[in-house]
């Protein structure tokens, strides 16, 4: 069970105020983003129930939304998540090689997390960075023009805790 801080609750109220009276459910996507951030980057049932209580809606209304959108993680993920695009334009620029390189280096397949809970490798569909391919989402930002060397550097940064997620 989580409980938002006063500051986060204020943010929730501000978000709700953006929408018409009685349509507070409209704020569900941004609030789920906050909830996920507060809960180690994934949503479990108790978190979704908490969001339902904040919005005064039924828990099922939160579940059906959380399961629809690909940015919500419904199981635990690693501390660092590499979300590598694999769609056509990235593929033309070698994303397959980057995905398999990360997989070999960390000894995991796409969708898996390393046993120490540090890294998750996830393949994603087009993130709108086609001209800067191959690329991945890393936290809030994109890492673009990826090469094996850049991947090495990023993994090293993560291991030495200097990688910037936000």
């Amino acid at each position: 069970m989580i409980q938002f801080s006063e500051e986060k609750l204020q943010k929730v109220n501000e978000l709700i105020s953006h929408y018409p009276e009685g349509k507070q459910k409209s704020a569900i996507l941004p609030i789920l983003h906050i909830a996920q951030e507060e809960n180690g980057n994934w949503l479990d049932v108790s978190v979704m129930d908490y969001v339902a209580s904040l919005l005064n809606i039924q828990p099922i209304e939160v579940y059906e939304v959380a399961t629809f959108y690909s940015m919500y993680n419904l199981k635990p993920v690693g501390k660092y998540m590499f979300e590598v695009c694999q769609t056509g334009p990235c593929m033309l620029n070698g994303s397959d090689d980057i995905i398999s390189y990360i997989g070999e280096k960390l000894n995991i397949k796409p969708g898996e997390t390393t046993s120490d809970g540090m890294f998750t490798l996830k393949t994603v569909e087009c993130l709108g960075a086609c001209g800067y391919a191959p690329m991945m989402q890393f936290g809030k930002y994109y890492r673009e023009h990826l090469t094996k060397e850049k991947v090495d550097t990023l993994i090293d940064e993560c291991r030495t805790k200097s990688a910037n997620l936000n």
Partner: protein, 448 residues
Amino acid sequence: MQKLLLEKDHVEGIRFYETYRREGGYRSVEKAFKMSPADVVEEVKKSGLRGRGGAGFPTGMKWSFIAKPEGVPRHLVCNADESEPGTFKDRYLMEFLPHLLIEGLIVSSFALGSNVTYIYIRGEYAWIVDILEQAIIEAKNNGFLGKNILGSGFDCEIYVHSGAGAYICGEETALIESLEGKRGNPRIKPPFPAIKGAWDRPTVVNNVETIAAVVPVINMGGDEYAKIGLGKSTGTKLMSACGNINKPGVYEIDMTISVEEFIFSDEYCGGIPNGKRLKACIPGGSSVPILPTNLLLKTAKGETRYMNYESLSDGGFATGSMMGSGGFIVFDEDQCVVRHTYTLARFYRHESCGQCSPCREGTGWMEKILKNIEIGRGKMSDIDLLWDIQSKIEGNTICPLGDAAAWPVAAAIRHFRDEFEWHVLNPNEAQKRNYGLAHYANTLEVVA
């Protein structure tokens, strides 16, 4: 050529209000407030501006459809859910010229009578949300948002609404559902959003680039804007160029240049890297038909093909393609069309909302069959089966995602059937990607 949107994109500090204003920003708001909302709509109509999200529908006409029932609020929603593979122009605009979008939104909100306007942005563009919110605060601090803007009596607030990863939410009714806090399942039309949109209120949904283009339309006047370009392709268009080119990026074009110039000129894509030859191109985002070089550079009639709505679609789907969203994906001679089409089929299967059976089931079948062909486990009959499935998805779904999934598969088979057959006949070599020169030597017969 004259740039209307990206003229100032490299001015240092243009992301911030002070610089943007000093460079002539927000003049269109001052000008619009001296006009009536109906006159602003009229200017946009005269400009011939067409929706830049992909469909190319005339913007002024879309605006004129909005219902105005007494006492019911109306909304403008800016579609910043840019997710069509190959497309990254809206991101560029928002990242580098956020105030241009805010300026366009204020003018458009005034024209439509929207006192609360939303920017629905894809969740992955998380850092751009910060940039936009900063721009909104700056605009508000300088009196361009809030109550009684510049003493005009017009009130307007803009809120950024972050999505959470769903291509389908770029479809306007799915976007509205998502804005209401639901799954992004498209609605059956009619009623159209202009009558019954967000929270059952009249709503207009416009793409980022469309809204930004309203700024030059008002500044120069609709008639002058309409003089730029060719025929019904008025004004300028942002193209996001990617794939195998020397200079990928976002380019503003005036729709009078040829496809050949766009690909090979140093001003734009700068040609194909490593001395390779051009094999094919998807000129308007992943949904539109792929064209082999011979049909890309010239139409079936042998005329030069230009970078505009009419010329790119010359010949229909048999020998032409579409302008779409301006996502321009270039293939060099070593690229495998089967593999690329497989990644697109996987994309559409992943992004299908699941409401309509032909799309929900069909996209998955196409992905599986394409994967089998790509890895050397395909049969000759699979190619006809693929054709059959795509033809049964097209036109049989609530929203255009079904068509968008069907068209790339159809076009790949139509123009590169020999490549599919080669994969079936050479299963052990199927995954090698150095196959592709066939279309220089022998142009395939066109299948209608």
